[in-house]
Symmetry: C2
DNA sequence: CTATAGTAACTGGTATTACCAGTTGACAGG
DNA sequence: CCTGTCAACTGGTAATACCAGTTACTATAG
């Protein structure tokens, strides 16, 4: 282990790959607003010619942009920019996360921390546009309960919480919670239901959601916060069994 | 906009790309523990032959693994698995984040939320191994203060908080905070110092760290928590100006 | 024998070319 | 006007080649 003389005069030379340069230019164009969501990206062949590089290099850059969730690639169609979306990234990483012990419980605790903060930041009164998706999620959950469709119920549950956070004004909180919620969603779709299968538990969930919705609609943010807190605590207890 | 008839009987056919299959197999091998950090990954040519696909396809999968921070690729050497590391991902995404208004402030607020929770979860008493890196970060910060080295000071600050979170026992909190701290680090290295340049402010930071460290060493977690809270509030106020 | 330099066999990085499959739009024929 | 066909795109994949860097072995000079 004597190789690292670490002569302070000489720093290792960082070699950058060319896909990183392409990536850099793209990100710069997006962050400066030159490229906006919905814009169509030139074809791979055009890009290769513009950058004076080969098509594989362009493809590697696009691959990364795809995983980051910054572009949407349609085979035969083209590539389009979109609002950054953490879904694709999550779907790759999720299995690595859930292989850990007690990850489900930790995730719930973390979600509690974030979600309560999100509700504190909700504007008061809540706009009708913010309330609408929450109401829709509740309706969906009610239907799922009647049909005894466990997975649909769980997804509706997630949708409710997602619409809650979308109403908050913190960009970071939205992104982080989006990440957490995506993890839950991934777990549910993968069949590892972190959720409740018993009918009465699902009914309780629905009931909680309805009450939270009502309090928010009435402008009682404090009440809603307390309800959400106990709601998540209940879920946590159920999951622990 | 009438194209989406959304006939419930027919679901769109999802076509998966072959790099996703390769990715899936890799992630599965890692999450089941067959592949462990430090293991060497076969060469691209071997993999291509094993998977019966072309080398570009293998490369695209490896590219993604590299961005996720799951492997380390040495040109001319080979690829090695490592503990997942969010750094590469952050360095791509960071510019997109910091292009938003008031992101710095939001980041501080979010960090406050997370970090206080992390200190609540600290084991009590704190082990010497957990305290040691914190002490080292304080020493580094003291040196930077004397040398009037702003960037080194900021990085030492980050190092202190990073070592704090590493002592907590929550895997998620560690990962999320690691992500946040990486964002700060990226900002500092990029010259967009979210930090303080005035000598007396830096001295105050150092003083706060020393007190927090002392309280933690003495086992007074509650005191440390209060100190951290006011410490971060102070930083936030300074950043607001 | 040892240490050096040289060399051959790797590795990943990039480029080139080609073909396939899916999409799109124009255009001709009903 | 609708419809089916076809040509010109698009991205997905493959095969091949060459470059540059790493590594380890080897032969040579001391």
């Amino acid at each position: 282990m004597e190789e690292h003389k670490s002569n302070p005069s000489f720093k290792p030379i960082a070699t950058r790959k060319i896909y990183q340069y392409i990536l850099e230019q793209f990100v710069h164009l997006v962050s400066t607003g030159v490229l906006k969501p919905g814009d169509k990206i030139p074809s791979e062949r055009e890009l290769a010619e513009s950058f004076k590089v080969s098509r594989p290099s362009v493809r590697e850059a696009l691959r990364v942009l795809e995983i980051i969730g910054l572009i949407d690639i349609q085979p035969g169609g083209g590539a389009y920019l979109k609002e950054m979306e953490l879904g694709p990234f999550i779907s790759v990483v999720a299995p690595l996360m859930f292989s850990r012990d007690r990850f489900d419980l930790e995730l719930l605790e973390f979600r509690e921390l974030i979600e309560i903060r999100a509700i504190e930041l909700l504007p008061n009164p809540l706009s009708a546009e913010a309330l609408e998706p929450m109401g829709r999620a509740i309706g969906e959950m009610r239907r799922a309960l009647l049909d005894n469709d466990v997975e649909a119920g769980a997804l509706a549950d997630i949708q409710f919480h997602r619409s809650l956070l979308l109403a908050s004004n913190s960009f970071i909180l939205q992104k982080v919670l989006e990440l957490v919620v995506s993890l839950f969603e991934h777990a549910v779709r993968g069949g590892r239901s972190v959720v409740l299968e018993k009918q009465e538990d699902a009914a309780q969930l629905l009931h909680d959601h309805e009450r939270i919705y009502q309090e928010l609609a009435d402008g009682n943010t404090d009440h809603a916060k307390k309800l959400l807190s106990s709601h998540l605590a209940m879920v946590k207890n159920l999951a622990r069994t």
